[in-house]
């Protein structure tokens, strides 16, 4: 497998491969996001069920703005993590972590395994801060990054719009490295 980082064993004994995301994973990534329940997808930053958005996302990796790590089991992507860094200007020491796990693999330790790889990457890149944000109506997302050590730094009222057009508060979480 190209870009393999490691294999991990989840709480229930399932073996999952963690690998760097590249263009060869285009179709699998699209399939992963399209398989997510509508309730999860509507809260995501971009409409990742569209080919052009997946292309843009992989383009960001190829341009050196982001590093993606995916979890693969039974030939399918079951988790996706992205470390996004703007390499210039005052944000160059801050990375943003974006993480989503297949509902069937939640509470299995996969989210933590992916986040751990993002932390390692962040340290290797000499970042000093990690941030993550989620809509206030995604309590699961807030709980998960909270367990990883992120603390809430603020709430932006009525700041983001989901794919159905509903307006939500945006929670900002951060962790100093």
């Amino acid at each position: 497998m190209t870009g393999l980082i490691k294999e991990v064993t989840l709480k229930d004994g399932t073996r999952v491969a963690l690998k760097f995301l590249s263009r060869e994973d285009f179709e699998l990534t699209l399939d992963f996001f399209r398989r997510l329940p509508e309730e999860d997808r509507c809260y995501l930053r971009r409409d990742v069920t569209k080919r052009e958005i997946i292309d843009e996302r992989i383009g960001e990796i190829e341009a050196g703005l982001a590093t993606g790590i995916v979890a693969v089991a039974d030939g399918k992507i079951v988790g996706d993590a992205l470390l996004f860094v703007i390499p210039r200007g005052w944000y160059r020491k801050t990375g943003e972590m974006r993480l989503i796990v297949d509902p069937e693999y939640r509470e299995s330790g996969l989210g933590t395994a992916l986040a751990r790889e993002i932390f390692i990457l962040a340290v290797k890149k000499d970042l000093r801060k990690l941030e993550s944000c989620a809509m206030e109506t995604q309590p699961g997302a807030k709980r998960m990054v909270g367990k990883l050590g992120f603390v809430q730094e603020g709430v932006l009222s009525n700041f983001v719009v989901d794919t159905r057009g509903r307006v939500h508060n945006l929670i900002l979480m951060g962790m100093r490295l």
Binding site: R45, Y91, S157, N158
Partner: protein
């Protein structure tokens, strides 16, 4: 691409032009940034003294993501304002505002004039919110945005790095445009209903 130009009077009666920028403004932009106080240059988001960095800012104009306005007195840029928008995704109803004014023009309403145009642009884009990010020690900028009724909503600890590698807190100020339009509509409806009584 959006184009705009208007003659305006500053508080002291002097004349200025507020207009959209073009790549022809690169030299004047560099002069403008180099004229900013040294301490404020160190606090900025990007290295505005680097020609390549300043030139790169024009790329986002060409992509239609950012509208940049300048206030010009004679042939000198005295203030710059920008509105950056996302066309899709969860931030599609929010815009990021940046304002920068030469110190000697800060009491002459240049920020208000630029902000007014940015608010109108935001309305045209159908935005609900405006946001600006300011380093904790950018006191002049903080005063400008407070004066424009932006609200301090979040502080991100050790979020940004300065040219010497020190981390600084970042303040997020927001302005709820949707609420402003709602209040305005309510005021108009209430006035209209009073007139109906006659």
């Amino acid at each position: 691409m959006y184009e705009y130009s208007e003659a305006v009077a500053l508080r002291d009666g002097s004349q200025a032009t507020v207009r959209t920028t073009s790549p022809d403004d690169l030299r004047a932009s560099l002069t403008f940034f180099l004229s900013m106080p040294e301490e404020e240059k160190q606090q900025m988001r990007i290295d505005v003294c680097d020609e390549e960095t300043v030139a790169r800012r024009y790329e986002s104009i060409e992509k239609g993501k950012t509208v940049r306005l300048v206030a010009v007195c004679g042939d000198k840029i005295v203030g710059e304002g920008s509105l950056e928008t996302m066309r899709y995704g969860w931030l599609r109803k929010s815009g990021e505002v940046r304002l920068l004014i030469l110190p000697e023009y800060r009491d002459l309403d240049v920020a208000k004039i630029l902000a007014r145009e940015i608010f109108l642009l935001a309305a045209r884009h159908g935005l609900n919110n405006l946001i600006t990010r300011v380093r904790h020690d950018q006191t002049e900028m903080i005063e400008i945005f407070k004066g424009l009724h932006f609200r301090h909503e979040a502080t991100q600890r050790d979020q940004v790095v300065d040219p010497e590698g020190w981390m600084h807190d970042l303040y997020m100020f927001t302005f709820d445009l949707a609420a402003m339009w709602r209040d305005l509509e309510d005021a108009v409806s209430s006035t209209a209903s009073r007139h109906m009584d006659y």
